[in-house]
Each structure stands twice: as structure tokens, then as C-alpha cells.
């Protein structure tokens, strides 16, 4: 068993309106950062996972995302795994 650091990035589905991102974009424009185009706000989760291999850690993390960490109706996610 080894420890792995799993990073999960969860983003609102691209086709859905992201009002949080829009509000941040407007605030950036108000501060003079006029070069900012689209802004989207998501979540970043960092998990410490015990597994036999990197692949196993990845598979477990994927199962966690599918069941709990991301909502398949409204969000997309991607994963990064590295040895802790």
C-alpha cells in the first residue's frame, strides 16, 4: 500500500450558465483587467488516498467522483494522481 495525492478538479458543465464566473469576470473588468474573457468557477479537491498502485488510486478516485464528488447532470471533472 502506498499513499497517493489525488487532485480532483470539478467544473460546471460548459453548456450551463455559470453566474459565479460571470460575477468574477465583471469584478475583474471593474478592476481594469479588461483583457479577461470568459471566467468559470469550479472546485478543487485534494484527497490523500491509500492504494496498491497509481492505477488503483485513479480508479478509486473516479468512483468517488461518479458517486459523490461531481454531479454528472451539472458538472464535469478531471483527475491528477501522484505519489504522496
Amino acid at each position: 500500500m502506498s499513499r497517493y495525492r489525488v487532485e480532483v478538479r470539478v467544473m460546471p458543465r460548459a453548456t450551463l450558465l455559470d453566474p459565479q464566473g460571470q460575477a468574477v469576470q465583471r469584478a475583474l473588468h471593474a478592476l481594469g483587467f479588461g483583457d479577461v474573457g470568459d471566467v468559470r468557477v469550479g472546485k478543487h479537491l485534494v484527497l490523500d488516498v491509500q492504494a496498491d498502485s497509481r492505477d488503483e488510486a485513479l480508479a478509486h478516485a473516479r468512483a468517488m467522483c461518479d458517486r459523490l464528488l461531481a454531479n454528472p447532470v451539472t458538472e464535469d471533472y478531471d483527475l491528477a494522481v501522484e505519489a504522496a
Binding site: 460546471p12 450551463l16 450558465l17 453566474p19 459523490l68 464528488l69 454531479n71 447532470v73 451539472t74
Partner: protein, 238 residues
């Protein structure tokens, strides 16, 4: 008397109003703590509004795995009526008992104000005492009330009359197709974002929501009479 289980999660805050509204309509209503696994022979289950688990991760995402939810899913699968109000609606979507999901209001603000919804479907256990087209004044109190679903699901909901309530006059949260409430394909599981339990008496500013609760009782009485007749004419209730 219908037995109505009002499930209480950590962070539920409309449980007392919901219980009172069900009792006011004549039901035998009681609380069931989310750690329990038995609905105590409930005829109807209500998941009330609130902020279960502080809306952490996503509204309803953690409550959906509470121990009681196994029994709620079993009750729903057996055809038992289930109503989710506000956070309860979010939990039912997260649990996959209703299609779609509820995300942040389009204009970001938490909204606590009256809305107007049109009754679009009367063949559910909670809307059977309304007329199709009735416009009700019922308040909302939510930050994550924008109903969304993929195009195919929305087309399916529209085609099969699963949109139960729709916002009229204005759409407070930007929900797709002005959806305020939906039901599942079997029509026994219903979710609504506005709070009918907050409009069940004139002193609360109106009673447009009261028939949601009277419906449970009316339906129960009818069903019971049918059941008795099925056993034999000797026991026909008068």
C-alpha cells in the same frame, strides 16, 4: 388518516412548518431522523426544505447518502408518494429519484420572496386537488434553485407532462423552461422549489399551498375505500 413521515436532516429548517401543514390537513405526521432506517409504515414521505449538511459540496449531495434514504428509495420504487420541497427537491435530484439538478440562481442572489407558479399537472399525489392552470402564490427561499437538465431530458419531461409547476410572471432563478417543480415518470415522486407549507393559512398571507397537503389526505381516504371494497362488499366503508 395518512401517515406522513417528515425526514429531518442536520440543517433541515422547514421540518416544523411542514409537519404542522400536514397535521393541519388532518394527517398523522411525525418526524424521522435521517440516521434511522425505517419510515415507520409511512403512507407519504416528505423531505423538507433547509440546508442539509450546510449545502457542502452541492445542495443535497451529502444528505442523499443518509441511512434513511435507502428506505425512501424503497418507498418510491414501491409507488409510495414522496414530496421534496426546496432542499428536499435538491436531495431527490442528487439521489437520482428525480431527473435533472438544481444549481446556483442565475442572478446569484439568495431569493426569499413570493413567486407565482402555474399548476401544469394534476395527476400526482400532491396536485390532485388543483385544477390544471391554477396560478398559486407560493414563496421561494433558495440560492440554488435553477433547475437544469440536458436537452433530451427536458424534452422528455415536457412530452410526458412531468413538469408539475412552472413559474409565471417572472422566472426568479433562471430555471430551464421556467420549471418550478417536476415529477418522475411514475408520477409518485414530486419535487418543488417554492414552499407550499408557508402558504397554508390566511394568517400566513394566503393558503394557495394548502391543497398540496390536503391532497395527501384525500388521496389516502379514496385509496383506502378502494382497498376495502377489493376485500369484499361486506366491508364496504360508508
Amino acid at each position: 388518516m395518512a401517515r406522513v413521515a417528515v425526514v429531518v436532516f442536520p440543517g433541515s429548517n422547514c421540518d416544523a412548518d411542514t409537519l404542522a401543514a400536514a397535521r393541519e390537513a388532518g394527517s398523522e405526521a411525525y418526524y424521522v431522523w435521517h440516521r434511522e432506517t425505517d419510515l415507520q409504515r409511512a403512507d407519504v414521505v416528505i423531505l423538507p426544505g433547509g440546508f442539509s449538511y450546510g449545502d457542502y459540496l452541492r445542495s443535497g449531495a451529502i444528505a442523499r447518502f443518509s441511512p434513511i434514504m435507502t428506505a425512501v428509495a424503497g418507498h418510491a420504487r414501491a409507488g409510495g408518494p414522496v414530496l421534496g420541497i426546496c432542499n428536499g427537491f435538491q436531495i431527490l435530484c442528487e439521489a437520482g429519484l428525480l431527473p435533472g439538478g438544481l444549481v446556483r440562481n442565475a442572478r446569484l442572489r439568495f431569493l426569499a420572496r413570493p413567486t407565482w407558479v402555474r399548476v401544469e399537472a394534476t395527476d400526482t399525489p400532491f396536485t390532485c386537488l388543483y385544477e390544471k392552470g391554477d396560478v398559486l402564490e407560493i414563496p421561494i427561499a433558495h440560492g440554488d434553485g435553477r433547475y437544469v437538465a440536458d436537452e433530451r431530458t427536458v424534452a422528455q419531461l415536457e412530452a410526458s407532462g412531468q413538469v408539475v409547476w412552472r413559474y409565471v410572471r417572472d422566472n426568479p432563478n433562471g430555471s430551464t423552461h421556467e420549471i418550478a417543480g417536476v415529477c418522475n415518470a411514475a408520477r409518485n415522486v414530486v419535487g418543488i422549489m417554492p414552499h407550499p407549507e408557508r402558504r397554508n393559512a390566511p394568517v400566513l398571507g394566503g393558503q394557495d399551498g394548502a391543497r398540496v397537503f390536503h391532497a395527501m389526505e384525500a388521496r389516502h381516504a379514496t385509496q383506502h375505500a378502494v382497498d376495502v371494497r377489493a376485500v369484499g362488499d361486506r366491508h364496504l366503508r360508508v
